[in-house]
């Protein structure tokens, strides 16, 4: 097996630019002011928000109303995935896998990194249902389960690209996308891992978002 033999970690200082970045946007609802005033980076970040990270209201497993972009994603390192409580194939496997990942994240979870799981079936999954599903997997603080209006959840699902080109398959929730989107919103670093990838590797991939100055080599 391989090991990570050299790493340069930024540690706590890695988070400093995030705050500056979040401050440079005057809120997600701000008006795009065109080429002259915003830097290409700012325009790009707004564009990503506008196309992919809709600022729609959702309800957490604690019954609290939150806005997707403003409250959950903006300025943060996050994971995003979908589930539904009565799914008996892929969702329990992915959720159980994420439960392993949250252990590996240690103190970063809830402080530097936030995990979000969204229901695909808000009509079945009310606050109580997602709360008990969440408890079944022993989710720690920092891993939030969310429900809300179906159309808002669909906007998020399509926004983060969890959809099929074939509408017949896209409508079949048993085949829903099992990936976990991961990203560092202010730095505009976004990628995805299969939710069923090995938990250790998933956790390592997430660490690149927390510490993007990581060097990595794998011995042969």
């Amino acid at each position: 097996m391989a090991d990570i033999s050299r790493r340069k970690l930024l540690g706590g200082t890695a988070l400093t630019p995030f705050a500056a970045a979040a401050g440079s946007l005057s809120g997600a609802g701000s008006k795009a002011t065109g080429r002259s005033e915003a830097t290409p980076s700012e325009l790009a970040r707004r564009r990503i928000q506008r196309l992919h990270l809709p600022n729609v209201p959702l309800i957490t497993h604690e019954g609290k109303q939150v806005m997707f972009y403003d409250d959950l994603v903006k300025g943060k390192v996050v994971t995003l995935n979908f589930f539904f409580a009565k799914c008996d194939e892929i969702c329990p496997r992915v959720t159980a896998n994420l439960a392993k990942v949250q252990k590996l994240l240690g103190a970063d979870l809830g402080t530097k990194l936030f995990m979000y799981s969204f229901t695909l079936k808000p009509e079945e999954d009310d606050v109580r249902a997602i709360k008990s599903f969440r408890e079944m997997f022993g989710a720690r603080p920092g891993w939030t389960f969310l429900t809300g209006k179906a159309e808002n959840l669909e906007l998020i699902r399509k926004g983060i690209g969890f959809k099929y080109p074939d509408p017949a398959i896209d409508g079949d929730k048993t085949q829903h996308i099992g990936n976990v989107r991961y990203g560092n919103e202010p730095l505009m670093l976004w990628a995805a891992c299969p939710g069923m990838a090995h938990a250790e590797y998933l956790a390592e991939s997430l660490s690149w978002m927390l510490r993007p100055e990581t060097n990595r080599i794998q011995s042969s």
């Binding site: 400093t16 008006k31 790009a44 099992g178 990936n179 730095l187 069923m196 794998q218």
Partner: protein, 659 residues
């Protein structure tokens, strides 16, 4: 006899069931979507029943569907990427006037006389080097492969700003490229390499650190540079899992030695394994699509005593670099608001652009003499397939044949006359075009392949054995309205050739005289093992044999200096996967049990197009080097979503049949 995609024999009844099931499914989908009303709604048919103009049918990386998004005060765009089989009402890049700019021929990479600090056999971690292992070549033969070879390059990867067109509709673009000391460019400078002349490149990451927040919306400035197609030792291969950030470097040793030099054809290797058109590109795991889209690509042309680059010697192929021109193709999308190149970060399927670049310029022109040229065509991706035709707009009914001389850059046994050739992401073809018959005319290199989303071409009719005549779901949705090949003049005109008039001398070989190049290495050797690789999608997760990329896991062990056969199977009825294997080339023994028929399938390959419902049988000799390499889909969006597996070459191979 009937077979399933695993190549297993099945009864006629079972085969009929399989075909019916596929057909039923297609019909079901078709029934829901192919009504005239639906087609109109999707913008495919006009009220008069005519297909909409070509531009409306071209694929886009971004769609535009109204959403209810309170955060956005401007236009409400949904991501819309490949939403359906049919592109909707999509955002378009600014319209750029084509053929304003001359083709850029990348200059030859300039070597340096020394490197500071001097390269070391073991990784010089103290100086900031990030390399997995000592150089292998000097350990095999320190005289032929000195740790510090006489040919050295110092490459910096940098962010820079460039005009991709002189049309003012598009502002200058801030992208990434390679600097050999003469300035940063993308594609990077072209290596002019020779067998028998080992070389070393110091690849330095001088991109802006990620935390300085000057990311223009995509790209991960931690890198690893792969030399694609090279018979290279693993520590210098550019493994996706060995990446390093700004301020670090990796010394990569390119021995430029023929396969077999340290095994079955010692000491010089097998001349029939000669390579010619290689390319280098970033391979950072999970971020390759973004980083190559942002510009981290370049050519590496490798010559020897036969393929000399001089048309007066050897095979007498058109002379490098004046008449032997590498062409890197790319499709991109630009934000209509900012004019900046954009990348769909949230796409799982594959990304198509609506604006075409050749060697970093949008639809350039090239002034050529009325004589033969060798072109090395490279599809840099991310996801588009091309089928290249020569088009004379004043004579659209004419077929304009040219010559295929190499596949993935490896010369065929002899030239094959073709009217077109299909090339997928990361594939190369070497062709010879004789412009003497077009003297005084303007003609075009045109992509006429119809592709509407990241799944692959709409139909694979010309390439798949008759048994699997089923086309993709999308093409059945679109039915006969979607030809696989667009009519001449209606595709994407990529490059304009302005042919001068008169006559010029031409010392290059006429392909019509049937010159011979290399012979194909024999494929009769008994394989030590036959492995099967199933390319599939499990709940949207790209997989190989039901597993996913893991940088910490070798999935199987190849025995050094052994023969293997690999069966690549594709059960996803909708997707074409261009599958790339590092270290060794392969030959295609069969597609669905039938010998390959398409000319581009008959040579040596390092990428094989794996079409829907196909089983492809590949032959390999793994020789000389040890260590780790990947197999992966080179639709880089699939690759970045875990359709990749690591394996390694060791002294004693394993017996894992389905890794």
């Amino acid at each position: 006899m009937y077979f399933n995609v695993f190549g297993e024999k099945v009864s006629r009844a079972r085969y009929r069931e399989m075909v019916d099931a596929a057909k039923n499914r297609r019909e079901l989908i078709a029934a829901g979507l192919t009504s005239r009303r639906d087609l109109c709604k999707m913008g495919l048919l006009t009220a008069g029943g005519m297909l909409v103009a070509k531009r409306g049918l071209s694929a886009r990386a971004y769609g535009q569907v109204q959403t209810n998004n309170p955060a956005s005060s401007g236009s409400n765009n949904s991501p819309g990427t490949n939403q359906n089989c049919v592109p909707g009402n999509q955002t378009q890049s600014p319209v750029i006037t084509p053929f304003l700019d001359p083709l850029v021929v990348m200059p030859m990479a300039q070597p340096v006389s020394s490197l500071t600090p001097t390269p070391t056999e073991n990784p010089n971690t103290g100086a900031g080097e990030v390399r997995a292992a000592p150089f292998q070549a000097p350990l095999i033969d320190p005289v032929r492969f000195p740790v510090v070879p006489s040919t050295l390059y110092n490459f910096n990867q940098r962010q820079f700003t460039v005009n991709q067109t002189s049309d003012p509709a598009l502002p200058p673009q801030t992208i990434w490229g390679f600097d050999d000391g003469t300035g940063t460019r993308s594609p990077g400078p072209t290596y002019h390499a020779f067998y028998g002349r080992p070389q070393l490149t110091r690849n330095i990451n001088s991109l802006p650190p990620v935390t300085q927040l000057n990311n223009t919306g995509f790209g991960m400035p931690s890198v690893t540079t792969h030399l694609h197609n090279a018979h290279n030792p693993s520590e210098s291969d550019g493994n996706p899992c060995d990446f390093y950030t700004s301020g670090h470097f990796c010394d990569q040793y390119y021995p430029n030695v023929l396969a077999g030099f340290n095994s079955d054809h010692a000491p010089h290797g097998d001349i029939n394994e000669s390579l010619s058109t290689l390319w280098y590109h970033d391979h950072r795991v999970d971020f390759t699509s973004q980083n190559t889209y942002k510009g981290l690509v370049g050519f590496y042309c490798l010559f020897n005593q036969l393929d000399t680059g001089n048309e007066g010697t050897g095979f007498h192929l058109p002379g490098f670099p004046q008449f032997d021109i590498p062409l890197a193709f790319a499709d991109r999308v630009y934000d209509p608001e900012s004019g900046q190149m954009v990348f769909d970060l949230f796409n799982l399927d594959g990304i198509l652009g609506d604006t075409f670049l050749v060697n970093g310029k949008i639809q350039p022109f090239f002034q050529v003499q009325p004589r033969r040229y060798r072109f090395r065509l490279l599809d840099t991706g991310p996801s588009r397939f091309y089928e290249f035709f020569l088009t004379d707009l004043n004579n659209l009914s004419a077929t304009n044949p040219y010559w295929l001389i190499g596949t993935d850059g490896n010369l065929l046994p002899s030239p094959i006359q073709i009217q077109s050739v299909r090339v997928g992401p990361a594939e190369r073809v070497d062709v010879i075009i004789d412009f003497s018959k077009f003297a005084g005319k303007t003609i075009y290199l045109e992509n006429r392949l119809n592709q509407i989303n990241g799944q692959g071409p709409v139909a694979v009719d010309s390439q798949v054995a008759a048994q699997n005549s089923s086309s993709t779901e999308c093409s059945s949705v679109l039915n006969s309205n979607q030809p696989a090949i667009l009519p001449a003049g209606t595709g994407n005109r990529l490059l304009q050739f302005q042919v001068s008039s008169g006559r010029v001398s031409d010392g290059s070989v006429d392909p019509a005289t049937n010159p011979t190049f290399y012979q194909l290495p024999n494929t009769k050797a008994e394989p030590r093992i036959v492995r099967t690789f199933k390319f599939d999608r499990l709940n949207g997760q790209w997989s190989i044999n039901g597993q996913f990329m893991d940088c910490n896991q070798f999935r199987f062990a190849v025995q050094q200096n052994s023969v293997e056969q690999w069966l690549l199977t594709n059960l996803t009825g909708d997707w074409t996967h261009p599958v790339h294997i590092h270290l060794e080339e392969h030959q295609i023994l069969s597609r669905n049990r039938a010998a390959p028929t398409v000319p581009a399938d008959t040579g040596r390959k390092d990428v094989t197009q794996l079409h829907p419902n196909e089983r492809v049988q590949l032959f390999f000799r793994f020789r000389d080097w040890m260590g780790k390499y990947p197999i992966h889909c080179h639709n880089v969006v699939h690759e970045d979503h875990a359709m990749m597996a690591l394996w390694h070459v060791v002294a004693q191979g394993d017996h894992v049949l389905v890794p």
